[in-house]
Amino acid sequence: MSWLQRIFEKPWLWSFIAAFLVWLATIVFTRGQGGGELLTAALTFATFFVIVGIGQMFVITLGPGNVDLSIPATMTLAGSVAMKVMDTQDSMILIGLVVTIACGLAVGIFNYALILVLRIPPIIATLSSSFVILSTAIAYGRGLRIKPPPLLAEFTTVQVAGIPILAIVVTALAGAMGVVLHRTIYGRSVLAIGQSLRAARFAGIPVERIRFLTYVLSALLASLCGFLFSGFSGGSSLSMGEQYLLASIAVVVIGGTSVAGGSGNLPGLWGAALFLFLVQSMLNTYQLSAGLRYLATGLIIITVITAAGGQKTQR
């Protein structure tokens, strides 16, 4: 039983195993054809889930009640603004990046101002701000689909031996954020706050400052994702972020991060992101409709969180 036990001890392994099984099931249907392409597609699209997943993971790790529901809107805003500013010019890419970061900062500060000043629970704060942010994106972008600069488009789509460069970069990012979580004062503070808010206060941790930084981090990563995704998909669109709300939470939960807070899991984000994409494409391959795809995604997340259970102690 010991090797089985060791697997259960590492929740993120499940997600990779599950992803592998789903990939297998899809290949079975196509009789072995296109396995490699499927893997490449999975890596490509999962990359974007991982970027927002990192931000959402840090927020959720802060403890119960902390969720960022403004991620899709922030993605859309950053994508629209950046594309418009860059205006298909390679020379403007750096400016575009700066603008993206500015968007992320603005959204993060706005969200946290709502949480701190108006004492709104984070869920409601980010929900209502998402509407404001989305409107800003619509008003600014006017729905025009501006093409990304060719260099950006290339960067987000180029592959090496079937593996997208972007996936490698984001893996490195995830690795770096893992180090941040476990080996920096900021990361340790997040983990402490998620385990026990009161103990963190008494241990001298500046709780409000850490929460602020985390919401800004989440907004920054969402902006970055919008920037890159616009480059990847040939321009920003208003429905760009639609599936990212559930996806960002799903990859965090399925990847083994506890919704009770205090323990973040970065490798799991990749496994869960791959799993999520592969489930959707498997359902596509089996020619199941969009409705079933939504249904399946929702059921999976409910199953995972039911199995994981909630807080151990009654608050």
Binding site: P64, G65, V67, L114, V117, L118, R119, I120, P121, I123, I124, L127, S128, S129, S130, F131, V132, I133, L134, S135, T136, I138, A139, R142, L245, L246, I249, V253, V259, S289, A290, G291, L292, R293, Y294, L295, A296, T297, G298, L299, I301, I302, I305, T306, G309, G310, Q311, Q314
Partner: protein, 313 residues
């Protein structure tokens, strides 16, 4: 007298009525033609499904949870009503009944496994959306005749939506605020430990409130199909935001079990009027969504101010 008028309890109770009155006055000022039977009827029609969804959300908020799936659920009910209920009523009733049972089961699950309702209902929103799309893949369907007839009623002097809203508020108020078990339900949100120690079952209260939410959600969807020309899965997308805003505007709290059904209905009507109001002040359509998010923020800001006054006493 001054003390009562400025007391937090009074302010909290008066906020929904006051904001409704102010908004109504502004609308009449901007467009005097709305001050008529036809005008009111047109503007307030959609208040009925929104008020019902708000009461559903109120039930969940009373027990210290949050339902982020109410919009998708109402959309599901609309699609079922436009298809099954219209074609094979028996099947339609069965499916809608099953929906209510699912809501009750969710309440049990959340209680027994101590799950965060946000994540569970967020997942459920996709389940309902998926089911709605399966039932009605493309916009269409037809409303059952009796619902369409009911929603198009034109009673004398008072527009139907106002009567309907009054009935909804009265029923919800009576059930939750006047009955003895209603006080237990609210108590389970205020001090669950005390309720449990007195021998009541917290599982039953949670399941009851979620089942009620499911029931009011069904009513919301049924009333909506009578008003829209064609059904589609995401027709009630905004209802999640509206319902939460309505409860808070109506004087409710996210935790502590302190809610006001009458206030919530007034809040729902106010939010319904926000759409024509934004049109009348020529808010560009781009900003319509943002404005509605801004309204929720403003409502919460007002409540934060009232709470701060309360705390300083």
């Amino acid at each position: 007298m001054i003390a009562t008028v400025t007391s937090p309890r009074f302010l909290r109770a008066i906020l929904p009525a006051l904001s409704l009155a102010v908004l109504l006055a502004l609308i009449f000022y901007l467009n005097p033609r709305t001050m008529s039977y036809v005008g009111l009827n047109l503007m307030l029609n959609l208040a009925i499904p929104i008020a019902l969804a708000t009461i559903a959300q109120l039930c969940v908020i009373t027990v210290n949870d949050l339902d982020l799936s109410i919009g998708a659920y109402v959309g599901f009910v609309v699609c079922v009503a436009a298809t099954y209920l219209h074609q094979t009523p028996a099947l339609g009733v069965l499916v809608l009944g099953a929906g209510i049972l699912v809501y009750a089961a969710l309440g049990a699950l959340i209680h027994l496994r101590n799950l965060p309702s946000i994540v569970v209902t967020l997942g459920m929103s996709f389940v309902w959306l998926g089911l709605a799309v399966l039932v009605l893949p493309t916009p269409g369907g037809k409303s059952p005749e009796w619902i369409a007839w009911l929603m198009k009623l034109k009673p004398a002097y008072i527009p139907f939506p106002i009567i309907a809203a009054a009935i909804i508020a009265a029923v919800a108020w009576f059930a939750l605020m006047r009955t003895s078990y209603g006080s237990i339900l609210r108590g389970s949100g205020g001090n669950p430990k005390a309720i449990e120690r007195a021998g009541w079952s917290l599982l039953k209260t949670k399941v009851a409130m979620f089942a009620l939410a499911g029931f009011f959600g069904v009513l919301s969807g049924l009333s909506l199909i009578g008003l829209t020309t064609s059904a589609q899965a995401n027709v009630a997308e905004r209802y999640t935001l509206y319902s939460i805003a309505g409860v808070i505007l109506g004087g409710g709290d996210f935790v502590g079990g302190r809610v006001s059904p009458v206030g919530a209905v007034l809040g729902a009507i106010t939010l319904t009027l926000s759409a024509p109001f934004l049109t009348f002040i020529h808010i560009p359509p781009d900003w319509q969504i943002g404005a509605q998010g801004a309204i929720l923020i403003i409502v919460l800001a007002l409540r934060a101010i009232i709470d701060r006054v309360e705390r300083r006493r």
